[in-house]
């Protein structure tokens, strides 16, 4: 790891902490160096950075985000940032017939890395997460040994609403829930609904 990469990592996490506090609340599990798939609600571009900054340093290195290849490799800086600092797993947005879109993710998991995924597929700002895409189910099926951790990210949408470029400092939290697994007799729809409910259950009570 070069100095520039380290410095950038420190800078990003410092700014994330300064602006959002980036507090991790480990409600359902301790922050352990186990292989995990964190799945969270998706409201803002900052979601990944928030989870990343909330993780302890030694877990950050082995926890990787998913990045759209066409966007995040478009410029040198973006490519460098996602590849070197975040160790992103690149996926193609356009689906080609001969390739499974989950293949890069599976590769990373076989390699022993943890992943952060946003199963809604797109950012939502309706408060409740949208219906989950099936990728999480397929990964759970293929890698039963990997812990699935639901995460609720709170308040991020207030930091940077859609269409704004300057973030406003507001405290955010990432709440990590108890590990869940695919049950033997569970079908895809049931599992995805249960996963979504697990994320939603971590939402702090609205006062």
């Amino acid at each position: 790891m070069t100095i520039a990469v380290k410095a950038m990592g420190l800078l990003v996490s410092f700014v994330a902490r300064l602006v959002t506090g980036a507090q991790g609340h480990w409600k359902g599990c301790p922050p352990e160096a186990l292989q995990r798939i964190y799945f969270a609600n998706h409201q803002s571009h900052l979601d990944w950075v928030l989870i990343w900054a909330a993780l302890p340093g030694d877990l950050r290195v082995r926890t990787r985000p998913i990045a759209a290849r066409d966007y995040w490799t478009a410029s040198k800086f973006k490519h460098w940032l996602t590849r070197e600092v975040f160790h992103a797993v690149y996926v193609n947005r356009q689906r080609s017939d001969d390739q499974d879109p989950l293949e890069p993710l599976a590769e990373a998991l076989e390699h022993g890395d943890s992943l952060v995924i946003f199963p809604e597929g797109t950012r939502s700002n309706k408060g409740e997460p949208q219906v989950f895409k099936s990728g999480l189910y397929h990964l759970a099926e293929r890698f039963p040994a990997v812990q699935l951790i639901p995460v609720w990210i709170d308040n991020v949408q207030r930091v940077m609403p859609k269409g704004e470029v300057v973030p406003v400092p507001i405290l955010c939290t990432a709440t990590f829930g108890a590990p869940m697994q695919l049950q033997p007799d569970e079908d895809k729809r049931e599992f995805l609904e249960r996963a979504r409910a697990a994320v939603l259950a971590l939402r702090p009570a609205v006062t």
Binding site: V168, P169, I170, L171, T207
Partner: protein, 324 residues
């Protein structure tokens, strides 16, 4: 006393810190020994509260020391950071709406730095009116431009209030460090120390008095322990502390007592108001409890200072005939 007078300003301030840290260390040791003697693992509520207060005192003292060590620029920067963190916490609890975004950017990235630059430059005239006059007008204009009429007054009031308390109020603490009294050059740290000690004494005595007296609380839905009698004991203790500390101020004994009274009374009232605010936001502690927002509890610690500092600053200035 004459031996003390003979020392240079720097030496006097140094001595002050030695005494301060010595006292804190002694109290911490006593508390640690007492908790080691009692066998139970579970801390009672009061003990936890004591520990929290003690930790806050340590943090406060270290901050005070740092702000003295680092000179005017450092002090201004340090309190600027505190203001930023306090305002961040306040805004988190204020549940702002999406259309407040631009106003909030103005508050955090324009108003806050400018106010502290004004402190650093010692332009106290502009410093006193910048937020109450100019920002007061700028925020609603920007907010109206965002084009969201819903809860307009409420949203603006929240932001204004946050700025006034967290930025305007708190910026008076470093201003005290930089205020030049005639024949009192370089001793601003004493004034800040005076302020911190009187507000702290008021808080502690009020806390003890409310426990001892068990009076009917004035506003039970806000604070179960706040009563007029306890509040007045706190203010009286602050006056006493002020009178005892007269030798570090440019004031006379009864003036110091009066200033202590005013600052102590304001500080405890500030704490009371913050408690109301917490209740409104649905948070019981702003301490390190995993609360709704993950708020880190700084606002709690600086609230008495936010309320006491402006009153203290302006009455000191007015009284010593420094214009305006």
């Amino acid at each position: 006393v004459n031996a003390l007078r003979a020392l240079t300003v720097e030496q006097q301030v140094g001595l002050l810190f030695v005494v301060l840290f010595g006292l804190l260390l002694a109290v911490t040791l006593v508390v640690a020994l007492r908790s080691a003697r009692t066998q139970h693992v579970e801390h009672s509520d009061t003990e936890l509260r004591l520990l929290r207060d003690l930790r806050a005192l340590w943090i406060g003292t270290v901050v005070f020391w740092l702000s003295w060590m680092s000179g005017p620029v450092g002090a201004t920067l340090l309190f600027g950071v505190f203001s930023f963190l306090a305002l961040r916490e306040f805004i988190t609890l204020a549940h702002t709406r999406r259309s407040d975004h631009r106003s909030l950017i103005l508050a955090f990235f324009v108003v806050l730095p400018l106010q502290y630059v004004l402190v650093g430059l010692r332009s106290f005239d502009l410093f006193s009116v910048f937020i109450p006059v100019y920002v007061f007008l700028a925020i609603p204009v920007l907010s109206a431009l965002a084009g969201d009429p819903q809860r307009f007054l409420e949203r603006n009031a929240k932001i204004q209030w946050g700025i006034t308390v967290c930025v305007f109020g708190l910026s008076h603490a470093p201003a005290l460090l930089l205020l030049e009294f005639p024949d009192y050059a370089g001793r601003g740290a004493f004034l800040l120390f005076f302020l911190v000690i009187v507000t702290a004494s008021a808080q502690i005595v009020q806390e003890l008095a409310s426990r001892r007296l068990r009076r009917r609380p004035v506003a039970r839905h806000i604070d179960r322990s706040f009563s007029y009698r306890a509040w007045m004991s706190g203010a009286a203790a602050a006056a006493l502390a002020g009178a005892l500390l007269v030798w570090i101020t440019p004031l006379r004994v009864w003036e110091a007592a009066g200033m202590g009274l005013v600052a102590g009374a304001c500080g405890t009232l500030g704490e009371f108001v913050m408690r109301a605010l917490k209740k409104d936001a649905g948070v019981r502690f702003w301490g390190n409890h995993p609360s709704v927002t993950g708020a880190v509890g700084l606002l709690d610690r600086v609230a008495p200072l936010c309320f006491a500092a402006p009153v203290f600053f302006h009455s000191a200035r007015w009284y010593s005939g420094l214009t305006p």
